[in-house]
């Protein structure tokens, strides 16, 4: 029973990190990425590879994951600098689909659809953390650290620069801001921190494969941000918790046929997104639209 709750805590913490980091570029920089799962995946695969081949120490595998994802995120920064709006969404979709193909085909690194098996548990100064309860402590601490980092950034001049760019790119440039540089840095930070979620995920489940890093995941994380509230601190976490609790709550309605639970959950979150956009586009936590 406790294990079940800790299990949920772990999943919520991991997805919260994803939602918070996506919110960082979506809510503050106006970069609407549908490729966030790519960096989640990169983080997971890289940390798994490092854990298996170099060292499962958190001080080795996690930074490695961050570096890998941060480097590849330059591919996402490229369209982010060139285009906005619908074009960027389409570009990020393209990147997401391409990455899934590469995740499926680069079998020596990712194991393809068969995935990476038997990933060693994460090692913190000699302590192997894999039991749900211990892991919950780790995942919550990591979430808090990520939150602190993001929060500090958002409230610094960097965060103001991001919001300035979101509101008016040309005016931001007219006030001396290196718009491409700031956008690139924000994408890199977001991707690197999302990779931490991937590293947690890989060491927690001890198994990863491409299915966890598809467009569906990107959409799910986006839904978490939007349902919770774009550009707010608590929104993404509320959204993550809500969407992850939804299936467990639905699965306790015994009268529902087992095979329909998945569908029902999807219908609820699909319609939830639509209704929210019609009646409260700012999300659950967000303030009402300004105009």
């Amino acid at each position: 029973m406790e294990a079940y709750i800790f299990n949920l805590v772990n999943l919520i913490a991991i997805y919260s990190i994803l939602a918070v980091t996506l919110n960082f570029i979506m809510g503050y920089a106006g970069i609407y990425s549908l490729a966030h799962a790519v960096f989640f995946g990169l983080g997971a695969y890289s940390s798994a590879w490092v854990a298996q081949h170099v060292s499962p120490s958190i001080f080795v595998s996690y930074p490695a994951a961050m570096v890998a994802a941060g480097a590849v995120s330059l591919l996402l920064a490229l369209p982010a600098l060139r285009v906005r709006g619908e074009y960027f969404v389409a570009a990020s979709l393209g990147l997401q689909v391409l990455s899934v193909t590469i995740f499926s085909e680069w079998k020596s690194f990712t194991g393809g659809i068969g995935g990476v098996l038997a990933i060693p548990p994460v090692d913190i100064l000699g302590l192997e953390v894999f039991r749900p309860a211990q892991f919950a402590v780790l995942s919550v601490i990591v979430l808090v650290v990520v939150l602190l980092v993001i929060n500090a950034l958002v409230h610094s001049s960097f965060g103001r620069n991001l919001r300035a760019i979101r509101d008016s790119e040309s005016a931001a440039a007219s006030f001396g801001k290196n718009v491409p540089m700031i956008k690139t840095i924000s994408v890199v930070i977001s991707a690197a921190l999302a990779a931490v979620a991937g590293a947690l995920y890989a060491s927690y489940l001890s198994f990863i494969n491409v299915e966890s890093f598809t467009l569906d995941t990107s959409v799910l994380v986006m839904a978490m941000v939007i349902i919770g509230g774009t550009g707010t601190v608590a929104g993404p976490i509320v959204g993550a918790a809500l969407l992850l609790l939804l299936p467990s709550v639905i699965s306790y309605f015994d009268f529902l046929p087992r095979t329909e639970i998945g569908s029902l959950q999807q219908i609820i979150y699909g319609l939830g997104m639509t209704l929210l956009m019609i009646f409260r586009p700012g999300g659950i936590v967000g303030r009402r639209s300004g105009t």
Partner: protein
């Protein structure tokens, strides 16, 4: 939010979370595809396992009522791992039924780490034999099927040039390896190999490639809805060579497809006519309950479930606790079991041996052409 509402909400949440504790005395888990393109298998598997539960409970074999907690794997590794985590941590089962090669490989680490037995009756990838002592197979793996069918094709039917169309996942890759090995030192050869992604449904391009390789015979290694599409689209696009597939093709949907007519298929041989009490009871009750003839999958999951009943009953008779660890010890101790199809014994790697039938699809059913003993 008012305080009462908060309390009510908290209470409701707790009540929800507390439910699994009320589960039946003997609960085992199952990770079957209940939704998605492979859901048809879930129905077939459940038909077998549900009947076994009925029999075990009717016989009062165990101290309390037995039930199965089904989790939907969709036939995919990722949902399966999530389901397995739930079965291990929440439901707290000592024994799970598994299916599909990718699923089984993915959950095996969790099973091994938490000492929970996982029994496969559906996946046939040869590497399923090497997933650790907590992973058992009650199905002959596909290497046996391949080794049975290749000589039949090349020698009996004179079909030398084969093209393989396989799904790009652990199962498909395993088949590819097995076929390569099976053709070594024979007259025949593998003249083309085309992999298709798991989610693909458009095969006209692949069909053109298959045709241009001019094979005598085409081997299809996929599952569920996809393999039906492959066969249909190959035929639609002018491939008229003999088509061959494995036991996974033998599902009601696939046999109903007009294009299936004449295909060569393999599968484990089950002697439904056997007069041992377990087999005849299974065949009679299965026909009565589902109004159709049982297939090998029905048998395998009936057997996998019955195996738990036998092991747990033996443990209870000794006053031992029914845990994964004890179940494993008991299996190693008992070695042979009376299951559907006769008395069987496990190999050391936790896998059952069984003779293989080579059959041909005719009018929505299969006709046995020959039975091959591939045993070591």
């Amino acid at each position: 939010m008012t305080k009462t509402f908060k309390q009510a909400a908290a209470a409701a949440t707790l009540a929800c979370l507390a439910l699994p504790a009320l589960a039946a005395d003997h609960t085992i888990g199952a990770l079957f595809p209940l939704s998605g393109p492979n859901a048809v298998y879930g129905d077939v598997f459940m038909a077998g396992s549900d009947l076994a539960v009925e029999h075990i409970n009717a016989d009062g074999m165990l101290s309390g009522p037995m039930s199965i907690a089904y989790e939907d794997s969709q036939g995919l590794p990722q949902p399966a791992v999530v389901g397995m985590t739930k079965l291990v941590n929440v439901t707290g089962v000592p024994y799970t039924l598994s299916a599909f090669t990718g699923v089984s490989k993915a959950i095996s680490t969790l099973g091994q780490r938490n000492q929970v037995v996982a029994v496969n009756g559906g996946g046939v990838g040869p590497d399923l034999a090497a997933l650790g002592e907590y992973f058992w197979n009650v199905i002959p793996l596909v290497n046996l099927e391949v080794r049975a069918v290749v000589p039949y094709l090349t020698e009996e039917m004179g079909l030398q040039k084969m093209v393989l169309v396989y799904i790009d996942d652990p199962f498909g890759q395993a088949i590819e390896g097995e076929l390569e090995a099976a053709f070594e030192g024979t007259e025949g050869e593998l003249v083309g190999k085309f992999s298709v992604p798991v989610t693909a449904q458009q095969f006209s391009g692949v069909a053109a490639q298959v045709r241009s390789a001019q094979p005598d015979v085409v081997y299809i290694a996929s599952y569920g809805a996809q393999q039906i599409q492959i066969v249909k689209q190959l035929r639609d696009n002018g491939v008229d060579a003999q088509i061959v597939s494995y036991s996974g093709y033998i599902t009601p949907d696939a046999l109903a497809l007009p294009e299936t007519e004449g295909m060569i298929l393999t599968g484990q041989a089950v002697d439904y006519e056997s007069d041992d009490p377990v087999t005849s009871r299974f065949v009679t009750d299965f026909k009565a309950k589902y109004d159709r003839d049982p297939t090998a999958y029905n048998v395998n999951y009936y057997n996998a479930t019955l195996l738990y009943g036998l092991l747990a009953a033996a443990l209870e008779a000794e006053g031992k606790e029914v845990t994964g660890e004890n179940l494993l010890a008991k299996r190693l101790e008992m070695k042979t079991f009376d299951l559907v199809g006769g008395t069987v014994s496990f190999q050391d790697n936790g896998t059952l041996l069984s003779p293989i039938e080579v059959k041909q699809a005719k009018g929505g059913a299969t006709e046995t052409l020959t039975t091959v003993n591939v045993g070591e």
